[in-house]
């Protein structure tokens, strides 16, 4: 079964054709303003989006996500094939590939990198490649044996933690353990991505320069990247990030607040881009029968339904996202593969909500509380809006602004009533979000205490289901169960708002969040 996605290649070609109307220019350094600095540049042991979203510029993977983030295209490997029983994946390495220090990438590097990623207890992303049993290489051929069929495995080979690292260099790094070596290596990383790290002033600037050995070619037939350099500047304040872009000191800025999207769309020297994303925003509910020894009204499915119907999502989309967001049609985003559903979940219906509250035995409502992240405008906005909306069905909502660690603790301990939350996929497959949301063994369905035997069984089956149609059916049913009885109040999905100067071209942020600069260029 050969899965080289012809559609994806065709799409890439089309994009190439359409943008070649304007000839690309080479050279120059692009400066991109980020809201926070990276923490740890190790593909396997990192823990956060601030790392994940830039890693692919330094480290390359065997396969790459397509520009729409949903498919797979060749990377360090040119071809890939899954055996009919789904237990063996064979890949062909590209000829002449090198790390950014000029040393060749060997089968040994690939074997070591993948096995490191798959080693239990090595980092928090191991689950993505947990199915790897062994890796063997011979010449240009890499053979991966899986412990069980894994329908998401090809996608996993595009994910940051399967990046190929130079084994010899890593092992020569000082440090007694893998973790210590990774810390030292992460300060001076060597990979095979389009750029390599030149200098890094923590909390301020990260400077990358062109990797002269990068394998891919640009439209002009010369090696990518087009840029000589790429600087990341850390500017945590939204207003300052935008000002810096407007003053021309940076070429792009991420996380534009929704409130300013409309304003920047009208700016003459800027392109306000809305990159499709897998981001969903929701309120997570604790549905255990009791919390702290007190009866919990949220354990009643009718109450949850009532809260859902009493939530005017369209109004929240206007208030909080200023029209940027769209209503959710399933708990997973429309950009997640195998998403089903066309109609917004729980259209606003106050009468129905009131009736449901009465049926549930709470005609006069009840008091409860909602955790929001302190100082986060979106979350505080959502809290303030639902506080008002739920007041209409008698629910007295107390907002509690807390810092992230406090909230995480209450979330994990199951002592909170509800919280505002957001999710972004890390892999182009529905299995990650579903595992956390609907499959109770992972984290108790968002630490809610919710459990559906049927959903659990379906998920387990889907994890080794290699028939795409059957897998899609399983996911359709899981979504139906979770969307009608699940422990969340879905709010909206939003794209990634990125503002670029008119001269910054070819940048892409895929739905998983990765910032991709391999084909970025400056129109001088």
């Amino acid at each position: 079964m050969k899965i080289v996605s012809i559609a994806a290649i065709a799409a890439a070609l089309l994009l190439g054709v359409s943008s070649s109307a304007m000839a690309v220019e080479r050279g120059g350094t692009m400066t991109y303003a980020r809201y926070a600095d990276s923490l740890f540049l190790d593909p396997v042991l990192n823990d956060a989006n601030v790392d994940i979203w830039v890693l692919s510029n330094i480290y390359d993977t065997l396969l790459l996500p397509t520009d729409d983030g949903q498919g797979v295209q060749p990377g360090l490997a040119t071809e890939w094939k899954t055996s009919d029983d789904g237990l063996t994946v064979t890949l062909t390495l590209r000829d002449g590939i090198k790390f950014s220090d000029g040393s060749p990438i060997t089968g040994e590097d690939v074997k070591w990198s993948l096995e490191r990623a798959a080693k239990p207890d090595n980092g928090i992303w191991q689950f993505l490649v947990a199915s790897i049993a062994s890796v063997a290489t011979e010449g240009n051929t890499v053979t991966i044996t899986l412990a069980h069929p894994d329908p998401a495995f090809i996608s996993a080979l595009t994910v940051f933690n399967t990046a190929i690292m130079p084994k010899a260099l890593f092992e020569a790094t000082p440090g007694a353990t893998d973790a210590e070596k990774a810390q030292a290596f992460g300060e001076h990383p060597v990979g095979s991505g389009p750029f390599m790290l030149a200098s890094w002033e923590r909390g301020a600037t990260m400077k990358l320069v062109k990797n002269p050995y990068y394998w891919d070619k640009g439209e002009d037939g010369q090696p990518l990247p087009y840029l000589d350099g790429l600087n990341f500047e850390v500017i945590p304040d939204d207003a300052t990030r935008i000002l810096r872009l407007q003053s021309g000191e940076v070429d792009g800025a991420e996380f534009i607040p929704y409130a300013r999207v409309e304003e920047l769309k009208g700016a003459e020297n800027l392109n306000m881009e809305m990159f499709p994303s897998t981001r969903v925003q929701y309120i997570s509910l604790n549905v255990r029968p009791q919390i702290d020894g007190k009866d919990n009204p949220l354990s009643n499915p009718k109450v949850r339904e009532a809260l859902n119907y009493a939530t005017n999502k369209e109004a929240i989309i206007q208030i909080v996202t200023h029209g940027v967001g769209t209503q959710m049609t399933s708990f997973m985003s429309t950009a997640t593969p195998l998403h089903t559903g066309t109609d917004p979940l729980y259209p606003y219906d106050l009468d129905k909500a009131k009736a449901l509250m009465a049926e549930a035995g709470f005609p006069d409502g009840f008091s409860t509380s909602l955790l929001v992240l302190a100082g986060n405008q979106d979350e505080v906005g959502i809290g303030t809006a639902v506080q008002q909306m739920w007041g209409a069905i008698g629910v007295k909502l107390e907002l509690q602004q807390v810092d992230n660690a406090t909230r995480t603790q209450q979330y994990r301990d199951g002592t909170m009533q509800m919280r505002v939350a957001a999710w972004t996929d890390d892999i182009a497959d529905p299995n990650e979000i579903t595992s956390y949301f609907a499959y109770s063994p992972t984290i108790d369905a968002l630490h809610s205490g919710w459990k559906s035997e049927e959903a659990d069984k379906l998920f387990e089956a889907s994890q080794s289901e290699i028939d795409p149609t059957k897998r899609a059916e399983e996911y359709a049913r899981i979504q139906e169960i979770f969307n009608t009885t699940g422990p969340i109040v879905p709010l909206y999905e939003t794209p990634y708002p990125v503002a670029l100067s008119k001269t910054a071209m070819g940048f892409n942020q895929i739905p998983l969040g990765n910032n991709i600069f391999r084909a970025a260029w400056l129109d001088k």
Binding site: D47, A204, R244, Q410, I443
Partner: protein, 312 residues
């Protein structure tokens, strides 16, 4: 009064103070809900991962054991490694502290330069136009939140007129100064207002006091009276206030640093509190305490010089 023994005595007295602060912070950060592992790993963390990482960090040990290990490490000049940034805390202090110190020193200078002459002018022109204008402007400055004032300054003098860079810290000393002028001004304005108001009131008070009348009667020239008597006496409480405010300035630069994208100690501190990065919070507390108490000591010396009667 001999200053050297006084300074030595004060420096010695600081050591138990530091020990006390470090102990309190050590306990306080561990009392905060949440732990480093779940702060780093976030919502998706699995119990196994959280427990494994906390154990790796030695946080499953009893508090006294952790504290003894910490004290032993300090004794050898090792403040540990940052949990989130994976760097030695001493490196982080060396990177971040100078930035914040420079910002604070510049802010303090600006505050003094603004406050001292204007306070004199206001006091001498009491209740006249100049006085009212000065007081009015400072009142507005005092009423503007740092993040708001900062954005306005950046909009006007940065993006608008292009006189100053829009945030950041730059490279090289002069470039640093250039980058830090607007943030220092932002930080300085409320301190300037406090000092101005205090000094104005003090001058008005001193000018009316008997000994100035006495000096005048003795036939001292007005300028001499101004410098020798009025300034000296009026400055006493202003210097006290200034010394006390330096601590607030140093520790409170976090919002200014955030708005102006300056990689300073304040931002590192708050990130580390939120990230439950215990070693960094402890190390930075110690570093900040050293800086604050040295400046504080300095203002005490100035005060002793201004008025030897305030002996300690």
């Amino acid at each position: 009064m001999s200053l050297v023994p006084y300074i030595l005595r004060r420096l010695l007295q600081l050591i138990p103070t530091f020990a006390f602060i470090v102990l309190v912070v050590f306990i306080l950060v561990r009392l905060l809900p949440g732990d480093p592992a779940s702060a780093i790993l976030g919502d998706r963390a699995l119990d196994a991962d959280v427990n494994r990482i906390n154990a790796e960090l030695g946080l499953d040990q009893p508090l006294p054991v952790q504290f003894i290990a910490f004290v032993k490490a300090i004794a050898t000049g090792n403040l540990g490694n940052s949990i989130t940034l994976k760097l030695p805390v001493t490196d982080l202090i060396a990177q971040r502290m100078p930035v914040t110190l420079m910002l604070t020193v510049m802010a303090a200078l600006i505050a003094l330069v603004l406050a001292l002459p204007l306070a004199f002018l206001a006091a001498l022109q009491r209740d006249k136009l100049a006085d009212n204008a000065i007081r009015g402007v400072f009142q507005v400055g005092l009423s503007m939140p740092v993040f708001y004032l900062g954005i306005i300054l950046l909009t006007v003098f940065g993006a608008g007129l292009g006189w100053f860079p829009v945030g950041g810290y730059g490279e090289g000393f002069l470039d640093h100064v250039h980058h830090l002028i607007l943030p220092a001004l932002t930080l300085a304005l409320s301190l300037a207002a406090i000092l101005m108001r205090n000094l104005r009131a003090a001058i008005i008070g001193v000018v009316g006091a008997e000994y100035v009348d006495f000096a005048r009667a003795k036939g001292l020239r007005p300028r001499l009276i101004m410098i020798r008597h009025v300034l000296r006496n009026a400055l006493i409480s202003t210097v006290t206030l200034f010394g006390l405010s330096i601590g607030t300035l140093l520790g409170g630069a976090v919002i200014t640093e955030t708005v102006f994208a300056i990689p300073g100690a304040g931002r590192l501190m708050i990130d580390s509190i939120y990230g439950r990065d215990y070693p960094v919070v402890q190390g930075m507390t110690l570093a900040l305490a050293v800086c604050v108490s040295l400046t504080f000591l300095l203002t005490d010396i100035v005060q002793a010089y201004l008025d030897p009667r305030v002996a300690r």
